[in-house]
C-alpha cells in the first residue's frame, strides 16, 4: 500500500482524529483557563494560599500523564473523561502562574488612580487589572495549550480522542506495511495541531490585546 492509498483509505478517520485532537486540547485549555484564572485571582494577594495552589498545580504537572490517565480510569472509566480531566489538570500551572504574575505586575499608580476615581474592587478587577494582565495571562494559556498538544497523544491508550489513536494503531500493527504510515501521520498531525494552535493564539493576541498595551 502506498502512502497516498493509505491517506485515501483512512482520510475520514484521520480528519476526525485531527479535529478531536484540536477539540480536546482547546476544551481542556478552556476549562483550565476558567479554573486557573479564577484560582489566580483568588490567591494573588495571599502568599500562603498562593504557594499552596502553585505547589498543587506544579505537582499535577509532575505526575506522568500515563500514570494520571491510569489512575483516573479507575474513577472515570475509559475515553474522553480521564483525558479531559488530566489535560485540564496539566494546564493549570502555567495559567495560574501567569495570572498571578500578570495581575501583580499592574502598576501601582494605575491601581491607585482606579481606586482614587471610585472604582470598587470588582470593577477595578474587570476593567483595569484583568485587561492589563491579559497579555501575560494569554502567554500562560498558550504555553498550557502547547504542553497539552503532545500530552494528549498518549490519551489514546485509555481510548481517548485524537491523533494518538493513529500512533497507537501503528504500534498495534507493527510488522504490517501501514504501521509506519500511521505513526508518521499521527506524529505529523500532532505537530500540525501545534502549529495551528500557535496561529490561533497569535490571532487571539492581535484581537484581544488593546493597542495601547501592545508592543
Amino acid at each position: 500500500m502506498s502512502y497516498e492509498e493509505y491517506l485515501g483509505y483512512f482520510q475520514e478517520g484521520l480528519l476526525r482524529q485531527f479535529g478531536d485532537h484540536l477539540a480536546v486540547v482547546l476544551l481542556s485549555t478552556l476549562l483550565g483557563s476558567i479554573v486557573g484564572v479564577s484560582a489566580g485571582i483568588l490567591v494573588r494577594h495571599q502568599p500562603g494560599p498562593r504557594e499552596i495552589v502553585l505547589k498543587v498545580a506544579g505537582t499535577m504537572l509532575t505526575i506522568p500523564s500515563l500514570a494520571l490517565y491510569a489512575v483516573l480510569i479507575g474513577i472515570l472509566g475509559l475515553g474522553w473523561p480521564p483525558v479531559l480531566l488530566a489535560l485540564t489538570a496539566y494546564s493549570l500551572l502555567p495559567i495560574i502562574q501567569n495570572t498571578i504574575v500578570g495581575l501583580n505586575s499592574v502598576s501601582a499608580p494605575v491601581l491607585e488612580a482606579a481606586r482614587g476615581i471610585g472604582m470598587g474592587d470588582k470593577v477595578r478587577l474587570v476593567r483595569v487589572e484583568l485587561p492589563l494582565a491579559w497579555p501575560v495571562i494569554l502567554v500562560g494559556i498558550r504555553t498550557a495549550a502547547i504542553i497539552l498538544v503532545s500530552t494528549a497523544a498518549l490519551g489514546a491508550v485509555v481510548r481517548g480522542p485524537g491523533l494518538g489513536n493513529a500512533i497507537y494503531a501503528g504500534l498495534n500493527s507493527i510488522g504490517s506495511s501501514v504501521a509506519l504510515y500511521q505513526v508518521l501521520t499521527g506524529v505529523g498531525g500532532v505537530v500540525v495541531v501545534g502549529l495551528l494552535l500557535n496561529a490561533i493564539f497569535f490571532a487571539l493576541a492581535r484581537l484581544t490585546i488593546p493597542r495601547g498595551i501592545r508592543d
Partner: protein, 366 residues
C-alpha cells in the same frame, strides 16, 4: 475669607506596625474655592493627610467633614467619584484611549454614552488638548505633560467640588511644569474648585496657592497663611528655613506689575535706546558698542509679576523691562528701582512692603 468646605478635625493616622504616627492631631479648615498648598519635608505626612480626605487611607481617629458631611458616612467609592484625584505618576489606564480615561468616572456614574462623549470633548478642550486629535489616542502616544493634562481632565470630568492633587506636576520638566501651572491657574479662574495641592516646590507653592500649609513632622501645621504672609512673616525658623534664603526673590513672583509701577523709557541721549518695529518695541540699542538685543516685552494683560521684569532686565542687559498692551504698543517700563524697593520691602520690615503684599494677595494669586 470664604466659607470652609473641608474641615480636618483632630486627625490622626498611625500605620499598623509603626510606633510613630504619620499624622498627629491635625486641625485644618480649607476654604471653598481656594487652592491650599501642602508643603513640607519628605515623609512628613502630606500624602497620608491628602489620602485620608478621599478615604484611600482611613484615619486612625478624628474626623473629616466635607460640606457638613462626615466622609466616613459616605460610601468610599461614592465619595471618590465626588472628589477629583490627580497623582504625580498620573496613572492613566494604558489599555484605554484618552476618551475612555477622561470618561472613566462618568461611566462609573452610569452616564449615557453620548453625554459622556460630549463631556469628554469639553474636558479635553478645557485642559488645552484638541479633542479631534487626542480623543482616540492611547496614553503611551502622549508626552508627559499631555498625559498629566488628561489626568487633570479625568479628575475634573464629573465636576467634583473638591480636587486632591499630589505633586501633579512633579515629574515633568521645569518649562512644561511652569506652563501647566499657568494653565491650571487660568483653569481654576473658570472652575473655582476647592483644591488640596501637595508640592515639594516652594516656588510652586507660592505661585499657585491661595493659602499654604507648611507642615512639619507628623503633619504638624507650622504655618497656614497666604503666600505673601508666609514670605513676609514666617512664623518660625522652620518656616523661614523652608522658604529659603532667597525669600526676597521669591516675593517678586508674588508682586504683580500694574500701571502705577510703570515709568517712561529712559531718556534717549546717552544710554541705551529702545528700538521699535512699526511702533512696537522689539529691543534695545545698547550705546557702548554692544549692539542691539532683542526682547520679548511683557504683556500687561498676561498679569506679569516683578520677577518677570527682573528676568527681562537681566537677560537683555537693558536698564528696564518693557511692558506692552495686547497690540504690542508700549505702555511703559519697569526699572531696577521698582524691583529694588520691592525686594527691600519683602526682606526687611518696611510698611511699604506690606501694602504691596496685600495688593499682591488681592488679585495676583489664583
Amino acid at each position: 475669607m470664604t466659607e470652609t468646605l473641608i474641615r480636618l478635625e483632630q486627625l490622626n493616622k498611625t500605620y499598623p506596625g509603626h510606633s510613630v504616627p504619620a499624622v498627629e492631631r491635625l486641625d485644618l479648615s480649607i476654604p471653598d474655592g481656594e487652592i491650599v498648598m501642602f508643603i513640607g519635608p519628605s515623609g512628613c505626612g502630606k500624602t497620608t493627610t491628602m489620602k485620608m480626605i478621599n478615604r484611600l487611607i482611613e484615619p486612625s481617629s478624628g474626623r473629616i467633614v466635607i460640606a457638613g458631611e462626615d466622609v466616613t458616612s459616605i460610601d468610599p467609592n461614592e465619595l471618590r467619584r465626588r472628589v477629583g484625584y490627580v497623582i504625580q505618576q498620573v496613572g492613566l489606564f494604558p489599555h484605554v484611549r484618552v476618551s475612555g480615561n477622561v470618561g472613566a468616572v462618568l461611566r462609573l456614574l452610569k452616564w449615557p454614552s453620548d453625554k459622556i462623549a460630549r463631556r469628554v470633548d469639553e474636558m479635553l478642550d478645557l485642559v488645552g488638548l484638541d479633542p479631534s486629535q487626542y480623543r482616540d489616542s492611547y496614553p503611551k502616544q502622549l508626552s508627559g505633560g499631555q498625559q498629566q493634562r488628561v489626568g487633570v481632565a479625568r479628575a475634573l470630568a464629573a465636576d467634583p467640588p473638591v480636587m486632591l492633587m499630589d505633586e501633579p506636576f512633579g515629574s515633568v520638566d521645569p518649562i512644561t511644569r511652569e506652563h501647566l501651572q499657568d494653565e491650571f491657574l487660568r483653569l481654576q479662574q473658570e472652575i473655582r474648585k476647592t483644591i488640596v495641592f501637595v508640592t515639594h516646590d516652594i516656588t510652586e507653592a507660592l505661585r499657585m496657592g491661595d493659602r499654604i500649609a507648611i507642615l512639619g513632622e507628623r503633619s504638624r501645621v507650622e504655618q497656614y497663611d497666604t503666600p505673601p504672609n508666609v514670605v513676609a512673616r514666617p512664623s518660625s525658623d522652620f518656616v523661614a528655613n523652608f522658604i529659603g534664603t532667597n525669600a526676597g526673590l521669591r516675593a517678586l513672583t508674588l508682586m504683580p506689575i500694574d500701571r502705577q509701577t510703570l515709568v517712561p523709557p529712559p531718556a534717549e541721549r546717552e544710554g541705551p535706546r529702545l528700538v521699535y518695529d512699526e511702533d512696537r518695541p522689539v529691543g534695545w540699542h545698547l550705546s557702548d558698542g554692544l549692539g542691539t538685543t532683542r526682547i520679548q516685552p511683557l504683556r500687561l494683560s498676561a498679569q506679569p509679576v516683578l520677577a518677570d521684569a527682573l528676568n527681562q532686565i537681566v537677560s537683555s542687559q537693558a536698564p528696564a523691562a518693557v511692558v506692552v498692551d495686547d497690540d504690542g504698543q508700549l505702555l511703559g517700563c519697569v526699572d531696577m528701582s521698582a524691583v529694588q524697593a520691592a525686594v527691600r520691602g519683602a526682606a526687611g520690615n518696611g510698611d511699604r512692603s506690606d501694602v504691596q503684599m496685600e495688593a499682591a494677595s488681592g488679585d495676583g494669586s489664583a
